[in-house]
Amino acid sequence: MIQARGLTKRFGSTLAVDDLSFVVEPGKVTGFLGPNGAGKSTTLHLMLGLIRGGGRTLFDGRPYRELACPMRVVGAMLEARALHPRRSARDHLRMLAAAARVSDRRVDQVLDQVGLTPVAHRRAGGFSLGMTQRLGLAAALLAEPRALLLDEPANGLDPHGVAWLRALLRAQAAQGRAVLVSSHLLAEMQLLADHLLVIGRGRLLADEPTDRLLGRSRRSHVLVRSPDADRLAELLVGQGATVQRRGAGELTVLGISAQVVGELAHEHRLRLHELASRNASLEAAFLELVDGEVEYLQGGAGRQ
């Protein structure tokens, strides 16, 4: 488990991370979302002690700096390009293997796992972004850590690679690992994450399960088709819902769940031909959440 408490980072007069507290549970993939400049990468760096700031993060109850063999507890991929361009992929991992106290055999295993065996002896400087990302993932997985912290791991991956990454991270979570993934690929995060942390301007805007966040969106609604639509609409408005008429006998209901609509119809013996929840996309939910929290926006509307 990862526990972050009161993380704060200031760059001059700019408060990049503002008293962030959250927990990343084992066995789940937790998505870490925010607009550009929201403080996602800064937060990850703070958690690992790479930059100085306020607050503390505990990994299995201990700060990163106090872990006896940190790579066995936390596998991190912050910047995949942080490697020497003239060092081969295998040499890069062998170097880290010394720190993690793992064998060369594990190095070869993990190269195979990320699909880099054919280029293991090639210099990393000649790698594409996707290959570099895979090498960064290999480094994070090398010591079979109990938690993973990944900053934009899908960057540069092709669609096959993204699907592979999704399966990999889900498998890691299924094995009981705590997985924290920052990403701006919202459609991908909707498929991947069990839980979401959303930040804007360094502040925590949401910390809840993905389904609940999507359900809370103004764009989530219940679609109803009924020959008694007029009567049902009156009843729903009476329950505090917002009802929009879309056509003959068709209603779009906001602010109330499909379950409540069904029970209400049943109670008043009204016929239903269709009753369906339509969750908003993560993109829609995200944009609602971060509205006004965007650091950099076209046209100078954001805070510069």
Binding site: R52, R65, A82, L83, R86, A139
Partner: protein, 248 residues
């Protein structure tokens, strides 16, 4: 510490630059031998001549190579952003500095030992006189010379951590050893060499006190350079602890 030293060794050995520097120091010694000694190999040479030939003649060049080796330890990390993977693997920054200093000390010393061995071998092969190397004082100087290269490499590690780059660290060493200290001697006289780090090292590696016109080393000459080194490494530790792990 063992993991850190293995980590550093694998880091250094996986870069071509390290091997280029090692071959450079050996190659320079051999080429200098050929250039300087051409036609003179069969002339009689005394113990002091052997010591000068094997230890002191190219000492400055070998220190420079050792400095480059040491400076790379942090220089590459800051230049390519590998300081972050390094600190993720070893989050205690003082420990990282110590590991890099020890690893660079060993490699710098090894570079000097390799060049010394090649020069000694060439001397023996060209004179067919193995007794030239029988003087115990010579072996003491070889050991001291080897240690001095390691110390210079460790100093470069500290300077590179402070400068967050390797180029500036080497330039600082060149300016200090090649300009500041000679000018200090000109201004204050040869006695000042006892308090100056690089000149005190030169005094220690001289066969006789007068052999380099630097005067005799003071009773604490062996402590001068280590004191400077300790100061630089302490400053580097504080700087590393207080700074964010960003690239240069």
């Amino acid at each position: 510490m063992t993991e850190l030293l293995v980590f550093e060794w694998r880091r250094m050995r996986s870069l071509r630059g390290t091997w280029v520097l090692l071959w450079l120091v050996v190659g320079f010694a051999l080429l200098a031998d050929l250039a300087v000694g051409l036609g003179k190999f069969r002339e009689p040479v005394d113990a002091e001549g052997v010591a000068f030939h094997v230890v002191q003649r190219d000492l400055i060049v070998r220190w420079l190579v050792a400095a480059a080796i040491g400076a790379q330890a942090f220089g590459h990390d800051f230049r390519y952003g590998t300081i972050r993977p390094t600190l993720l693997a070893f989050p205690r920054r003082g420990q990282v500095l110590a590991g890099k200093a020890v690893a660079s000390f060993l490699l710098g010393a090894a570079a000097l030992a390799a060049s010394t061995a090649s020069m000694a071998l060439l001397l023996v092969l060209s004179t067919w006189d193995g007794s030239l190397l029988a003087d115990p004082r010579l072996w003491r100087l070889i050991a001291l010379g080897t240690v001095t290269a390691g110390l210079v490499a460790a100093l470069a590690v500290g300077l590179a951590a402070l400068a967050r780059g390797s180029g500036l660290a080497v330039v600082m060493i060149v300016l200090w050893g090649g300009v500041v200290e000679p000018l200090t001697i000109v201004g204050l006289g040869g006695g000042a060499a006892r308090a100056l780090p690089f000149l005190s090292l030169l005094q220690l590696t001289a066969y006789t006190p007068v052999s380099q016109d630097l005067g005799s080393p003071g009773p604490l000459a062996w402590a001068v350079f280590p004191l400077y080194l300790a100061a630089v490494l302490t400053a580097a530790t504080i700087a590393l602890a207080r700074q964010d792990a960003t690239t240069s």
